[in-house]
Each structure stands twice: as structure tokens, then as C-alpha cells.
């Protein structure tokens, strides 16, 4: 027995012992290193994507801000970059973005939160198993389809209620956008609530609290950080949404906070310019990068806020 185990493998040269074949210089280690380097390159690629986004936006915006002073960009109250009398006041586009996002969040945050609480604390297993995939489907509908729906279905209905409502308006776009965002808010908030340990609920029930009292005073506070990041995600979705607004809100720049008016947002302005045939390198071409940079900074600010909220309110069990 012991003799046969000690006998060298005839297929290998006698000189190569097992420890030599497994040594750091052996080919299998070289191959491992190469594969690891390739996989690392794939992971690091995502960092290059971010850098490329920042580089492209800053480079083109830099040229833009050589012509247009930053103070004009921030404080001018007109946005007419394609006219002879050109004005570049981003406030005009921001007002459209903020108004439509505000309408959307007024729909998405209450409904999303209620759905999350209901699914996590009230609904039975069966309801949850059906509702969650359904919400996912709702989030998977292409936004151009939502835009079509807002323009051809919701706006005519709203016009029956407010006869003065124009065919393109921020209200109908914002409402549909809110419905689109519900799944994101609901599903992330629900995950956060479900992560709250059962013992907290049991403690609350043992004190005689009802489901609603437990949900509102025990589970929700414990899940604050997760719910807050769900809201933040909803906000950045709303701010970055494009097609619903491009289709249903009209694309005229309009400094207004009244949702019943038409208006352009940062995103729909970019679409409008891209649809036309602006020459590469013209000032009109550069405006979309300046607008894009503004959008990126806004979403970045929300992401950082979300990150901070998660850290600040994280409950560790």
C-alpha cells in the first residue's frame, strides 16, 4: 500500500514533484493571474465609464462657459439658445424639471409607501407573491409608452375636469411619471421593512399594539434609512425621466411652477436639440452638455444625500 502511494506518476517527469508543479511560478498560477487581471479590468471598466461621462460633459460645458458666463446661466430668466437673441437661463428648464418631479413625487411617495407598508405588514403570502411581480412589470413598461398614455389618454380626461388645460402640460406628464415611479419606491421600501427583525414586531404585538400601530411606530422608524434611499431613488428617477415629458409636456421652455402649463425640462430640452440637426461644435450643441452636466450634478447630489441618510439612520441589529 504505502509503496504504491509513494511511487511517482509515470506520466510526469521524475524531476517535477507535486510541490514544484504547484509552485507560484507554475503555469497554472500564471494563468490564474492573467484571468484575475482580466476580470479586474472588467470591474474597473465601470470606473472608466464614470470618468468618461464626467470628462465628456465637463469638456463640452467648459467650451460653453467660455462664451456664456456662469452668472447668466444660473440667473437669466429666459432660455432661448437657438434664437438670434440668445439667453441661457437654466432656471427655466429647472422649473419644468422641479414642477413635473414635484407632481410625480406627490403621487409616487404616498402611494409607494402605503403599498410597501401594506405588502410588508398586512398582505398575506399569496397577495405578495402576485403583487410584487406585477409591480415589477409596471416598472418595466417603456417610458415612451407612458408618454403616449399621458398624451392620448390622461390629458383628454384631465381636460374634461379643467377645460382650460392645454394639450401639452406638466400635470398629466407628472401624474403618469408618478405611477411609473411607484414600483421603485414601493419595492425598495418594502425590502427595507422586511429586513426589520421579527422580534421587534413580536415585542410590539405583545404589548397589545395593532398591525397598523406596529407598522407605523415600530417597523417604519426602524427601516428609515432604507425608506429614505427608496425616496431618493424615486427623486432621481423623476428628475432624469425624459420621454414622458418630451411627449406629453410640450417642449417650450417656460419659467413656471404651475403644473397646468406646458414646459420644457432639462431632459426634454436635450431630446429636442438632438432631434434637430445641430452642427457638431456649435453653441447649441454645447448647451445640451451644459444641461446634462446640471442634471448629473443634481442626481449626484441626491445620490450623496441618500448615501449619507443610509449611514446616518442605519439601525444595526
Amino acid at each position: 500500500m504505502s509503496a504504491s502511494a509513494a511511487a511517482p506518476d509515470p506520466s510526469l517527469p521524475i524531476s517535477k514533484t507535486v510541490s514544484e508543479r504547484l509552485s507560484k511560478k507554475a503555469s497554472r498560477h500564471v494563468k490564474e493571474r492573467i484571468i484575475e487581471a482580466l476580470l479586474f479590468a472588467a470591474a474597473a471598466f465601470s470606473v472608466f465609464v464614470t470618468l468618461a461621462i464626467v470628462y465628456v460633459l465637463v469638456k463640452e460645458s467648459w467650451v460653453f462657459f467660455q462664451t456664456v458666463p456662469l452668472s447668466d446661466f444660473l440667473f437669466d430668466t429666459q432660455w432661448t439658445p437657438l434664437f438670434d437673441d440668445a439667453h441661457y437661463g437654466i432656471m427655466v428648464l429647472l422649473s419644468g424639471t422641479l414642477t413635473s418631479s414635484g407632481v410625480a413625487l406627490l403621487v409616487a411617495i404616498p402611494l409607494g409607501t402605503i403599498i410597501a407598508i401594506y405588502l410588508s405588514e398586512f398582505a398575506g403570502f399569496k397577495v405578495r407573491e402576485i403583487a410584487k411581480p406585477f409591480l415589477e412589470l409596471l416598472g418595466g413598461v417603456p417610458t415612451i409608452v407612458y408618454g403616449y398614455f399621458a398624451l392620448t389618454f390622461l390629458t383628454p380626461i384631465l381636460q374634461k375636469i379643467y377645460p382650460d388645460l392645454p394639450g401639452f402640460n406638466l400635470l398629466s406628464a407628472g401624474l403618469v411619471m408618478g405611477i411609473m415611479i411607484i414600483p421603485y419606491v414601493a419595492s425598495l421600501s418594502e425590502d427595507a421593512m422586511r429586513a426589520v427583525p421579527m422580534s421587534l414586531r413580536e415585542g410590539s404585538y405583545a404589548m397589545g399594539a395593532t398591525r397598523l400601530q406596529t407598522a407605523l411606530w415600530v417597523v417604519t422608524p426602524a427601516a428609515t434609512s432604507g425608506i429614505a434611499s427608496a425616496y431618493i431613488l424615486g427623486i432621481s428617477r423623476a428628475v432624469g425621466e425624459t420621454m414622458i415629458l418630451a411627449v406629453a409636456a410640450g417642449m417650450q421652455p417656460n419659467l413656471t411652477f404651475d403644473p397646468t402649463e406646458p414646459g420644457a425640462t432639462i431632459t426634454s430640452y436635450i431630446v429636442q436639440v438632438a432631434l434637430g440637426d445641430l452642427p457638431h461644435g456649435s453653441i447649441g450643441y454645447q448647451t445640451i452638455f451644459a444641461a446634462g452636466l446640471t442634471l448629473l450634478l443634481m442626481t449626484l447630489a441626491f445620490n450623496l444625500l441618500g448615501y449619507w441618510l443610509r449611514k446616518r439612520f442605519r439601525e444595526v441589529y
Binding site: L39, A42, T143, I144, E241
Partner: protein
């Protein structure tokens, strides 16, 4: 001993609390119904308007100035070709990145940066990817407004989805599988290629399908790179045409995709084009729903069948 009055007061409190509970349950169901109803109305409205328009000719005709002759041939062919480029570039890259982060990455600041960066990328609006592609692919690399530019743009967009799905399905594999493989003397790559990837492939596939379903419906980044909306021809198939096209010449061809065709029709005032838009939208929603449904079904099967 409790007084009857106290008992009654307590009963009243309990009854009130229960009423609130019931009220909130109803509110929850109502809120869910808002989502469900909107979706149903949206789908039915589009089906009622669009389905009568769906015919063999609608799928085999090019867009046209005359609404009744217009079709979606160039759009659906374009969508398939763009998706091909997207899948071929995003899936290997995303899976590789996911595998690295789960199986190889040491705990250090580089890994932290990559992880934070990926979650940040997921939050960047899709139109910003369009601007990146316009500056980088279209002008800097000189790919022009081609299938290649669009496919790569959408690939960047769904990369975070695929990375996250890969990581989650790898994380679902018990540690004992890793340990067993390493105990037999396998290297990290042997463990990954013989065990981790095969066991996580269904989960990764689910993520890939969800990502592709999102990419199919994305309109904004493709408009931003300046894709034409009126394309009444198909790119030459490899080795056809005069002079014969090369194997990969189609990736530099101009194109249109389903959502752009729909946007084009939606933004026209004539009612006949709105009907075309409804029909195109119905096909689009049907495609994304089928893909999402497949992903949900796969995940359900996965959860049911795999018991580690």
C-alpha cells in the same frame, strides 16, 4: 376589579384600533389597485387602438409618409441588431465584473471605489449616457449614428443591472460549495468556471433578460446620439449587396428602433399616425412584458427547484 365603564372604554379603544387597521388594509388595496388599474387601462387602450392595425403588412413595411402604408420593418430589425450588439458587449463585461467583485476582490479602497461607482452608475439618468455616447462614440471614436454606437450605449446603461444580478446569484450559492472545491485543490478560476458560474447561470440569465427588456424600451439615449427616425431600408446582410458587404458592415449602418419609431409617430398631429403609434407601442409593450414575464417565471422556478 375593573369597572364596567373601564371595560367599555377599553373595548371602544380596541374597536377603534381595529377600525383603523381595517381602514389601512383597504387603503393599501386601493393603492395597489391604482397601479394595477393604470396598467390595465394603458394596455387595453393601446390594444383597442392598435391591434386592428397589426397585420402582416405592418411588420413587413417600411415607415411611410402615408400612415396607412407605414410599417415597422426597419424598426424591429434595428431593435434586434442593436440588442445583439448590446448583449454581446454587456453580458461578458458585466458577468466578469460581478465574478471579480464576489470571488476575487480583496477588501481594500479600490474595491470600495468600484462598488460605490457601480451603484452610482445605476442612478445616472439614461439621457446622460446618451450624451456620453454622443461625445465619445459618435464623434471621438467616429462610429457615427450607427447600430454600433446605439448598442454600446445601451450596453453601458444595463451594465450595472447585469453586475448586480451576477453578484446576487453568486452570493446565493452556499459557502460550502466554494470550500469543497478549494479543499480538492482547485484554483479560484477552476472553482468559478466549474462550480460558481454553472450554478449561478440561471440567476444571471434572469438579470440579463431584465436588463435587455429595459434596453429595448430605452428611447432617450438613442435619440440623443442623433439616430434618424425615417429609415426606409435595412442594413445589408453580410456578403450581400453590391459591392458585397463585409461580415460586420451592418454595425456601422444607420438604423431606427421600435421606441424611436413610436416616438416619431406619437409626435405627429394626424390621428392616423397615433393609431400607428398605438400599434407599435402594443408590440413594444408585448415584447418587454414577455421578457419580464420570462425573467419572473425563471426566478420563480429557480427558487422552487434549488435546495442547497
Amino acid at each position: 376589579m375593573l369597572q364596567t365603564a373601564d371595560l367599555n372604554a377599553i373595548r371602544a379603544i380596541i374597536a377603534r384600533a381595529k377600525r383603523w387597521d381595517l381602514f389601512f388594509s383597504l387603503l393599501g388595496i386601493l393603492s395597489l389597485m391604482v397601479g394595477v388599474l393604470t396598467f390595465t387601462v394603458l394596455f387595453l387602450d393601446m390594444a383597442i387602438q392598435g391591434v386592428p392595425r397589426l397585420s402582416y403588412e405592418f411588420f413587413t413595411s417600411f415607415p411611410s409618409r402615408r400612415a396607412e402604408n407605414a410599417g415597422i420593418l426597419s424598426a424591429w430589425v434595428g431593435t434586434i441588431l442593436v440588442m445583439l450588439v448590446t448583449a454581446l458587449s454587456a453580458v461578458p463585461l458585466g458577468v466578469a465584473a460581478g465574478v471579480y467583485l464576489e470571488e476575487y476582490a480583496p477588501k481594500n479602497w479600490i474595491t470600495d471605489i468600484i462598488e460605490i461607482n457601480i451603484s452610482n452608475l445605476a442612478g445616472i439618468p439614461s439621457i446622460v449616457y446618451g450624451l456620453l455616447a454622443l461625445g465619445l462614440f459618435v464623434y471621438y471614436f467616429g462610429f457615427g449614428q450607427s447600430i454600433l454606437s446605439a448598442g454600446l450605449t445601451l450596453a453601458l446603461l444595463i451594465l450595472p443591472v447585469i453586475i448586480v444580478a451576477t453578484r446576487e446569484s453568486i452570493r446565493a450559492i452556499p459557502q460550502s460549495i466554494h470550500e469543497g472545491s478549494y479543499a480538492c485543490g482547485a484554483t479560484t478560476w477552476q472553482t468559478v468556471s466549474d462550480h460558481i458560474l454553472p450554478y449561478s447561470s440561471a440567476g444571471i440569465l434572469t438579470g440579463v433578460i431584465i436588463g435587455m427588456a429595459r434596453a429595448i424600451g430605452e428611447t432617450a439615449p438613442i435619440i440623443t446620439i442623433g439616430a434618424l427616425t425615417f429609415i426606409a431600408f435595412l442594413p445589408n446582410a453580410p456578403f450581400t449587396g453590391d459591392p458585397p458587404a463585409g461580415m460586420f458592415e451592418w454595425i456601422f449602418a444607420p438604423f431606427t428602433v421600435m421606441p424611436i419609431q413610436m416616438f416619431n409617430w406619437t409626435s405627429r398631429p394626424e390621428a392616423a399616425f397615433t393609431i400607428n403609434a398605438a400599434a407599435a407601442g402594443f408590440v413594444l409593450v408585448f415584447m418587454t412584458l414577455a421578457m419580464n414575464g420570462l425573467a419572473i417565471y425563471l426566478r420563480y422556478q429557480l427558487r422552487k427547484n434549488i435546495k442547497w
